[in-house]
């Protein structure tokens, strides 16, 4: 009876063994890469909008404060998205016939809302509150990036839980003085470790509160 396996079988088997070993890591490595890539997270991908609103122009160029449009950021979980009327405080006088702003004018005329594509969106089982973050010294740019440099807005971070926990586990790394909250240019100073620790105390984030920050119930209900 002829042999079932030829001589080459040995080599094929060895190669298979080795590639299975590396393949395992390669597969999970690939999964990891895709998981953290901007393909999945949409991090850094500018989103098309019906009205190509530029934060760069309005914030860096004109110097509008974040709270001019995002009015409830200090009061509510939701920072607020400006109603058409807010846009019209200026655009009823300037750029009144710009084609770019046609949806805006139509919205006002027909009383139908504008449609924006969400840029920063959390899953439905995550409950985030803007007001408490702003109150406890987390500035806009910490999570949203330098919005004043974005012609079309994109997501600055993955918004994954690991990324949230980086800060919840060590808030002193990102905490800033209250007068710097809306400063887009703020970056942690060289002595942030020391300043941060002091601010944590000033904001009444005690040791007990720090442990609460890591509870699941902080964000999941």
């Amino acid at each position: 009876m002829a042999q079932i396996f030829g001589k080459s079988s040995n080599s094929i088997f060895r190669v298979s063994l080795v590639s299975a070993f590396f393949g395992f890591f390669a597969f999970w490595g690939l999964v990891y890469l895709i998981y953290w890539s901007s393909y999945t997270t949409a991090q850094g991908v500018p989103r098309e909008q019906e009205v190509p609103f530029s934060h760069q122009h309005h914030v860096a160029g004109l110097g509008l404060d974040c709270r001019y449009c995002h009015t409830s950021v200090e009061k509510s979980s939701f920072a607020g998205i400006p109603p058409t009327e807010t846009c019209m405080t200026c655009h009823s006088r300037v750029w009144t016939d710009a084609p770019m702003l046609a949806p805006e004018r139509q919205s006002l005329a027909t009383q139908q809302p504008l449609r924006w594509t969400r840029v920063n969106d959390l899953p439905d089982f995550v409950f985030f509150n803007h007001s408490i973050h702003v109150q406890k010294g987390i500035g806009c740019s910490t999570c949203h990036g330098q919005v004043d440099q974005m012609p079309l807005t994109w997501k600055a971070h993955s918004l994954y839980m690991r990324w949230c926990l980086d800060c919840h586990e060590a808030p002193e790394k990102q905490i800033r003085p209250r007068d710097q909250i809306y400063n887009m240019e703020w970056t942690p100073p060289p002595d942030q470790a020391e300043r941060g620790a002091r601010l944590v105390k000033d904001y009444h984030i005690s040791r007990v509160r720090l442990s609460e920050l890591r509870d699941c119930s902080m964000c999941h209900r």
């Binding site: 504008l114 007001s131 442990s211 119930s217 999941h220």
Partner: protein, 1066 residues
């Protein structure tokens, strides 16, 4: 007499459970023997099997015809695909800003509005919560006198009616879709016709009206059309109370009781804690008079006689099951003994009854001026009058009982009013009938044949929220606003003027009664209900500055100090000699001769109950599957009693899934009504729960399943109204049987002479009474004591608790220190009345789905808090006790240790969390939960696709998906909201700032939640009370929810009970 009641022939069907054996077992039992169901007492094999398991058979397995091989294939496939489900990208979503944002609205923050909900015509003040413009929750308005912050099940569940996709949405004309404009043109034709006859053919049929504006509109129409008539009919009528007041005082007044100031309370078939219009206030005050949790050692003693166990009856220290008709005799006995000018009992009372009444009498005499006698709405006028006479004889009037004018705009005998209307409909003199709310084609007494005569009326206009039985027979149907979409006003039971204001624009083309009547007066321009109500109040000139005061009234939801005026009344000396038919009624209304009496008052010469059995007619079905021949059992001369359903009321909530599924107080029945029957009668007749019987009464019959109800009066069967709806919507149609079919106009609430015939049919009734049972005779799940015992041994409960062994835990005692907040809950078992308000409140707050009858049968109901009702004592007259059971949030939680994916985890404040996005559905946790409080989404129960329901969900709580475990969270979203508010103000959360949904809803304030580390917090104080105990505390799981043992105030003169805290056997 006694012999005649014995069954003549031993009846046919063998009961599945042997009631006689249960009886013997209970007689032999010593000490505190609690039981929850007949199944438990019978120790059926099924019940035993269920106790052993986390879920009953079928609840956790998939047995629907999948072979082992196929199962393994599916399992492999599932495993292979399971990982892939996580590989989805988050979908891109849109966001829609306002065009013009309302100034008061902060996106993401709730707004609260004070408005009023009406039931039985009376207003209860509510605070409705709105998120981004849609109402999501309704709770009691703490400042409103009829609520005091408490809720009823109906109030909590009313939000679902707003979003009900089966609501009527357009005007219909003879069943076809039509428009309001077409209706108006027809209305104008009608009005021009009626102008010539001064409205002789115009009739208005309303429910009980307390609204000043609506009454004003109707009076206004009466001026335009002097011959038009206004009739009122509410199936849950207070006719007996009105007539009783006329009989006793010669005028219609309402009695108002101060239960908190009474030492002895006697209920004559009264359900004042659940069905009375003042239920929430009475609950609070009744419990305040009995609250011993704060160290007080005084409480009122409550005696109740009733035919069927009610919420109120379960709270009694001594409860006497007695036929409804016998209540009059008991009242006469007492009144006679107290020297009131009345005759003694019509029949002789048994010695046991006399002994019981003797104890009542002794207590009443000892507490003159500090007692209350209250008669139920079901009792005939003479019993109402006897109760008034008793209160007067005891010197209670002006102390614990006050009289006020009624809040009703036009108090009439409603049954008579409907009767007169039908008489006119018969003769054809009614040319146009406006039915403003209500569903008389379904609720009217069958002998009036309202539905037949309605079809003959030339123009009938029905205003209602559903395309119901009446809508189907009416010429025009106008969809009605929900109260959260409508402006309006009404009076509370005490007369306080209360306002309704809308939280949302009408979802459909709906109208309110105000707008419909308004259109009869003025159509150009159409006046909205807002203008109509506002104009009415502006005309009243109540306030010097209208706009300011009007806004304040709307803000508060009511106008304070507008109670009906108090009246000093004396009971007429001769009331017992007056006959109900011989009197003049309220002004201008005469009862024609020959009209039916208000109540079929059974005489003393009642025939004894007869049970007989005959062989069933021979079936022609010779196939293998023919049911075995049973003997037909016939029971005659029974008393029949009707009651509004504890969930569906008169049927108006039939399409409300929350209410259909809410386990009814006492018997825990869901998705059905039943013929409630006493164990003694069932035993004699050989009937058992689920046997379908035919109930015949006054020549009419209806079929329904039997439910053997411990504590039911022996010869009374009780039928609950509101089921058997033929047209209401997808949820309520065909559920249960229609008890209205045998509720004739002679017998609004009870009557003698009903016949019951067994059938060969069976109908499966599903009750949650056996579910999630913690059965264990030696564990003392439920603890109770008496006031006397507590006075002599303050530590009676503490002593009885077996101390846990501290080292018996798998937890590292150092792991959690709880230095911040330490949340805990205390539930007062003396205060819990078992009304279910917490259960429904929890469903609304936490987006808990309805699962349906079949799933409830499989023990898959999703309720996060359940109310376990325990029975103690005999089958015929058990004591009832309620224990609300939410998640205990154990410090040494057994569930957490077994979760393979850490979905059940602890937090630093002691909350026992369930992280839905981690849960993979192994159900190990619920298997390990000693309290059986975890609920698993076996199927996709939550409806996330019907657009109507989307705005109803609480946006602060995750909507769970299939395959996920869930349970009570201590309303963690409310803790989070309070924490953020407090942190922003750099302070700690104050005591009382976080209230769980169940706590907020509880009308009795039985549930207290708070931080155990806050010095002097209410919950910490309660946990230091000697009555505090942990359910299953001996397991050393250290539950954060603990109970305050029930305290009863027993009379030493009633010998119907065993002492409560004898040592346990074994």
């Amino acid at each position: 007499m006694k012999d005649a009641r014995e069954p003549q022939v031993k009846a046919g069907a063998t009961p599945a459970m042997d009631l006689a054996a249960m009886r013997a077992k209970l007689n032999g039992a010593r000490g505190q023997h609690y039981w929850r169901s007949l199944e438990e007492l019978a120790e059926t094999p099924e019940f035993q099997a269920m106790l052993e398991r986390e879920f009953p058979a079928g609840a956790s397995e998939w047995w629907d015809g999948v072979s082992r091989r196929n199962f393994l294939k599916l399992a492999a496939g599932t495993l292979a695909l399971a990982g892939l489900t996580a590989c989805t990208k988050q979908p891109t979503r849109e966001i829609f800003p306002y065009v013009k944002q309302p100034a008061e609205l902060v996106l993401g923050q709730p707004l609260y509005y004070a408005t009023s909900m009406l039931l039985g015509g009376f207003a209860t003040g509510v605070l409705a919560k709105s998120r981004e413009g849609h109402p999501i929750k309704v709770d009691g308005n703490p400042e409103h006198p009829a609520s005091l912050g408490g809720s009823s099940v109906w109030m909590q569940a009313s939000i679902l009616d707003l979003y009900d996709p089966d609501r009527s949405q357009t005007v219909t004309h003879r069943g076809d879709i039509s428009t309001w404009a077409l209706f108006l043109s027809d209305l104008n034709d009608l009005l021009s016709e009626e102008h010539t006859t001064q409205g002789a053919g115009l009739r208005f049929l309303t429910e009980t009206v307390t609204s000043p504006t609506l009454a004003d509109q109707l009076n206004d129409l009466h001026e335009r059309f002097p011959k038009a008539k206004w009739c009122q009919y509410d199936p849950v009528t207070r006719d007996q109370v009105r007539e009783g007041s006329l009989l006793a005082f010669g005028r219609v007044v309402e009695a108002h009781y101060r239960f908190d100031q009474a030492s002895v309370i006697l209920g004559l078939d009264s359900d004042f804690l659940y069905t009375h219009p003042e239920r929430l206030r009475y609950t609070r005050q009744f419990i305040d008079g009995r609250r011993v949790s704060t160290g007080k050692r005084e409480m009122s003693r409550f005696y109740q006689m009733e035919s069927t166990p009610t919420v109120t009856g379960t709270m009694a220290d001594h409860r006497l099951p007695i036929e409804s008709a016998k209540v009059e005799d008991c009242a006469r006995y007492l009144a006679h003994q107290l020297g009131a000018p009345v005759q003694g009992p019509n029949t002789t009372l048994t010695s046991a009854q006399q002994q019981w009444l003797g104890a009542v009498l002794k207590d009443l005499q000892a507490e003159r001026g500090r007692s209350i006698v209250i008669a139920g709405e079901w009792q005939p006028p003479i019993v109402q009058a006897l109760a008034h006479a008793l209160n007067q004889a005891l010197g209670n009037s002006g102390k614990t009982v006050a009289y006020r004018d009624t809040a009703e705009a036009n108090p009439v005998n409603q049954l008579q009013s409907l009767h007169d209307l039908v008489d006119e409909m018969k003769t054809g003199s009614v040319r146009a009938l406006f039915i403003l709310g209500g569903n008389p084609a379904y609720t009217a007494p069958p002998d009036l044949e309202f539905h037949q005569h309605l079809a003959k009326v030339k123009r009938s206009i029905h205003l209602g929220m559903n395309l119901d039985e009446t809508a189907a027979l009416s010429t025009w149907h106008i969809p009605q606003n929900h109260y959260l979409e409508s402006w309006g006003d009404a009076r509370a039971f005490d007369g306080t003027v209360s306002f309704q204001q809308p939280l949302i624009a009408p979802l459909y083309e709906t109208k309110s009664a105000y707008e419909l009547l308004g259109a009869m007066v003025q159509q150009q321009p159409t006046r909205s209900d807002y203008e109509i109500v506002r104009d009415y109040w502006q005309k009243q000139r109540l306030w010097p500055e209208f706009e300011k005061s009007w806004r304040k009234a709307l803000h508060d939801g009511f106008i304070s100090q507008t109670q009906a005026p108090p009246r000093e009344v004396r009971v007429r000396e001769d009331f017992d000699r007056l006959t109900p038919t011989g009197r003049t009624m309220s002004a201008g209304e005469k009862k024609p001769a020959g009209a039916p009496a208000t109540q079929n008052v059974p005489t003393g010469k009642q025939a004894p109950v007869q049970i007989s059995s005959t062989p069933a007619p021979v079936s022609k079905d010779t196939s293998l599957f023919a049911t075995p021949q049973k003997k037909q059992v016939r029971i005659e001369n029974l008393e029949i009693a009707f009651r509004p359903d504890p969930n569906l009321w008169d049927g108006r909530f039939a399409n409300n899934g929350w209410l259909q599924e809410c386990p009814k107080p006492v018997n825990k029945l869901t998705w059905d009504n039943a013929v409630l029957m006493s164990p003694a009668l069932a035993e004699k007749a050989g009937l058992m729960t689920n046997d379908v019987v035919e109930v015949s009464f006054e020549g009419r019959a209806v079929r329904g399943p039997v439910w053997v109800m411990p504590g039911q009066a022996e010869n009374t069967v009780t039928l609950h109204l509101g089921y058997g709806r033929s047209r209401v919507g997808r949820v309520g149609e065909g559920v249960g049987f229609n008890a209205y079919l045998v509720r004739t106009s002679n017998t609004p609430w009870f009557g003698a002479g009903a016949t019951l015939i067994s059938t060969a049919q069976n109908h499966l009734l599903v009750a949650t009474q056996t579910h999630h049972n913690l059965h264990s005779p030696d564990r003392q799940i439920y603890r109770a004591t008496t006031l006397d015992e507590l006075r002599t041994q303050p530590d009676v409960i503490t002593k009885s608790v077996e101390a846990p062994e501290e080292d018996q835990t798998l937890y590292n005692p150092e792991e959690y220190k709880y230095e911040g907040y330490k949340w805990g809950m205390s539930i007062d078992l003396t205060a819990c009345i078992g009304c279910n308000a917490c259960v429904v409140a929890c469903e609304v707050e936490n987006n808990i789905p309805v699962v349906g009858k079949e799933q409830v049968y499989k023990n898959r109901e999703m309720l996060w808090i359940r109310i376990d009702t325990y029975y103690k004592g005999t089958l015929d007259n058990p004591e009832f006790s309620h224990a609300p059971v939410p998640c205990m949030h154990c410090e040494h939680a057994p569930c957490e240790l077994v979760c393979p994916v850490e979905a059940a985890v602890h937090d630093s404040e002691g909350l026992n969390l369930q992280v839905y996005n981690r849960c993979v559905g192994t159900r190990f946790c619920s298997n390990n939960c000693p309290y059986k409080v975890r609920r698993f989404n076996f199927l996709r129960y939550t409806d996330y696709h019907t657009p109507n329901f989307k705005p109803m969900y609480n946006p602060e709580v995750t909507v769970r998906w299939r395959g996920v475990m869930e349970k009570c969270t201590y309303c963690v979203q409310r803790i989070a909201a309070a924490r953020i508010t407090a942190e922003k103000e750099n302070r700690l959360i104050r005591d009382g700032e976080v209230r769980t949904a169940c706590q907020q809803a509880c009308p009795a304030e039985a549930i207290v939640f708070g931080d155990l580390n806050t010095k002097g917090s209410k919950v910490a104080e309660l946990k230091n009370q000697p009555l505090d105990y942990a359910m299953l505390g001996q397991l050393n799981v250290r539950p954060r929810t603990t109970y305050l043992a029930k305290v009863e105030n027993r009379s030493p003169d009633v010998k119907d009970q065993r002492p409560v805290s004898q040592p346990e056997e074994g």
